[in-house]
């Protein structure tokens, strides 16, 4: 129960914690069905796929990302009419751009992922598909420096003009000053 006092870990504590478990990826019934449909829609564009619970994911080439998303939107069995979330994850050597799509009609969810090399962070825009994409893309551009080619206005959304760096990145220096 008592934690022996130990110094605050200076770096990511993963390596001196217990051995890292890896979560099992299991689908529920809906997820399996969605995965099947998604696989059919994405077709040969899929590089890799997986998922858990009700949300399957598919990794595609970044250039194909909007295209695949459009097919998901227009497909009659999926009808992913809402861009639920657009985000980026920084795995230091590459970034990953994730679309989470949702259908308000078939109530299915799916993720589309694309790897983006950190030194050439460019993805085609999806603003022509969903209006919501515009702000998401601006935000990701703010925080991760991913350029969405074709987005009409990538000016800073959350950050102010003149902010240097992309704070979402792991490489961004973390503010670490102590008041005491």
């Amino acid at each position: 129960m008592t934690q022996p006092p130990k110094p605050t870990p200076p770096e990511r504590p993963a390596r001196h914690g217990p051995p890292v478990e890896v979560a099992q990826e299991v689908f529920d019934v809906q997820g399996q069905e969605t995965a099947r449909l998604l696989a059919r829609v994405v077709g040969t564009n899929a590089l890799e796929s997986g998922g858990r619970d009700e949300v399957p994911w598919v990794r595609v080439e970044r250039e194909r990302l909007p295209h695949v998303a459009e097919r998901c939107r227009d497909d009659q069995s999926l009808r992913m009419d809402m861009l639920h979330l657009l985000l980026a994850v920084d795995y230091v050597e590459h970034l990953e751009v994730v679309y989470i799509l949702l259908s308000t009609q078939t109530l299915r969810k799916a993720m589309l992922k694309a790897r983006v090399p950190a030194n050439d962070a460019q993805v085609p825009t999806a603003t022509h598909l969903w209006e919501a994409a515009h702000w998401y893309e601006r935000e990701v551009h703010d925080l991760f420096g991913v350029t969405f080619t074709g987005n009409p206005d990538l000016s800073p959304l959350l950050l102010y003009e003149g902010f240097e760096g992309h704070p979402g990145l792991k490489s961004f220096p973390f503010h670490d000053h102590d008041e005491f």
Binding site: H84, E131, W135
Partner: protein
């Protein structure tokens, strides 16, 4: 000489970041033609606190406090969605009593949030009394929160694997007593505002958004339902103990400000009924699973979403197996709702901009995070 609607007399009007009606620090740049809005440019980020980045540097237990402060009107709902994400990643099964208490408190929080909306929306359209009444009833809900969680706003109550501690013994009686008052408060607002002729003038047919645009903008929650899309996470993807509750999901059809307002009035009633059901069903038992004190979810990623008072909140969590998340991304409902502001706003009056913004019910803490 009512020459207020002139052509070609454009003017830029800067609303905010400090403006009494922007619900915090939202800023919009309106291009006016007389009193008519011809263009609008929203500016956010005046409350960008970097929560998501902070989350990567705090342990899972501490992150709950950050989620409290994200949507600072619906704190418990926020806590719940994050905690559920972690629990799902860890594969934890939460005791039923804890689930019921969670849902009960979340619904109470939904009522509190909607009460705040009803009041401040009245304030936005110029009625100064409803806000006083709704806050009075809201205070009762906050008292209950305080007696359960120990805090009025920032509860830090829902923990990974359960809840912090069981509810006090007089909880059921207190909630029932408070609900009576809350019902009265909602009815009072209903009487005072809903069908007031001036209020109808101000909100009917204002800020209309059709279902297609709404979905494309990512509008969720009561705002989307007001446009006629019956999408509700509690119904479509039920979590916790929502499958065991009977409730109605009110759906509008016009998608104007009044519909959005009235959806919330109706949802208040629904939430109250859900709370009563929860009280009836509340089982005995433990409120916490036996877990390690420091949560270390296995490596993997998970997306969990839930119905917040403001819409569909989602948490995308990437864990690398340590006690801190590798990446945490929130789908903030207010952020997406705000995208829909522009289509609603164009070609309306300046005064409408306030009514429309109010009807979307944004919380800047969540928009900017």
């Amino acid at each position: 000489m009512t020459t207020t609607d002139q052509r070609q007399v454009d003017m830029m009007l800067n609303l905010g970041p400090q403006h009494p009606a922007t619900h915090g620090v939202f800023r919009m740049l309106l291009t006016l033609d007389g009193e008519r809005i011809v263009d609008m440019e929203p500016h956010i980020g005046y409350l960008h606190r970097g929560s998501e980045k902070l989350c990567e540097n705090e342990s899972y237990g501490q992150i709950v406090t950050l989620f409290d402060r994200m949507d600072y009107i619906a704190n418990l709902n926020n806590e719940l969605v994050f905690v559920r994400a972690v629990e799902r990643l860890m594969g934890l099964e939460v005791p039923e009593r804890a689930q019921f208490i969670r849902v009960l408190l979340c619904e109470l929080n939904r009522v509190a949030s909607h009460l705040l909306f009803l009041g401040t929306y009245g304030l936005d359209v110029g009625a100064m009394t409803p806000v006083m009444y709704t806050f009075r009833e809201r205070e009762r809900i906050q008292n209950i929160f305080e007696s359960v969680t120990g805090a009025r706003l920032m509860h830090n109550y829902i923990r990974i694997g359960g809840i912090k501690e069981d509810v006090p013994s007089d909880f059921t009686a207190r909630v029932r007593a408070a609900l009576e008052f809350v019902k009265r408060g909602v009815d009072e607002t209903d009487r005072l505002l809903s069908f007031n002729e001036v209020f109808l003038l101000r909100t009917k047919g204002v800020g209309v958004i059709d279902a297609k645009t709404a979905v494309s903008c990512g509008l969720t929650g009561p705002n989307l339902r007001a446009s006629g899309v019956p999408y509700d996470v509690r119904k479509d993807n039920p979590y916790e103990v929502y499958p065991y509750l009977t409730f109605k999901v009110p759906v509008g059809e016009r998608g104007d400000c009044w519909d959005r307002y009235y959806m919330r009035v109706l949802e208040c009633h629904e939430s109250i009924s859900m709370i009563e059901q929860c009280l009836d069903l509340l089982p005995d038992g433990p409120t916490m699973t036996q877990t390690r004190r420091i949560a270390r979810p296995p490596k993997g990623e998970v997306y969990v979403h839930a119905e917040n008072p403001r819409g569909d909140i989602g948490v995308f969590l990437v864990s690398d197996g340590s006690d801190k998340p590798y990446r945490l991304k929130v789908r903030p409902p207010s952020f997406c709702n705000l995208v829909a502001l522009r289509p609603m706003l164009l070609n309306s009056y300046v005064a409408d901009s306030i009514a429309i913004l109010g009807s979307i019910d944004i919380v800047l803490g969540e928009v900017d995070r």
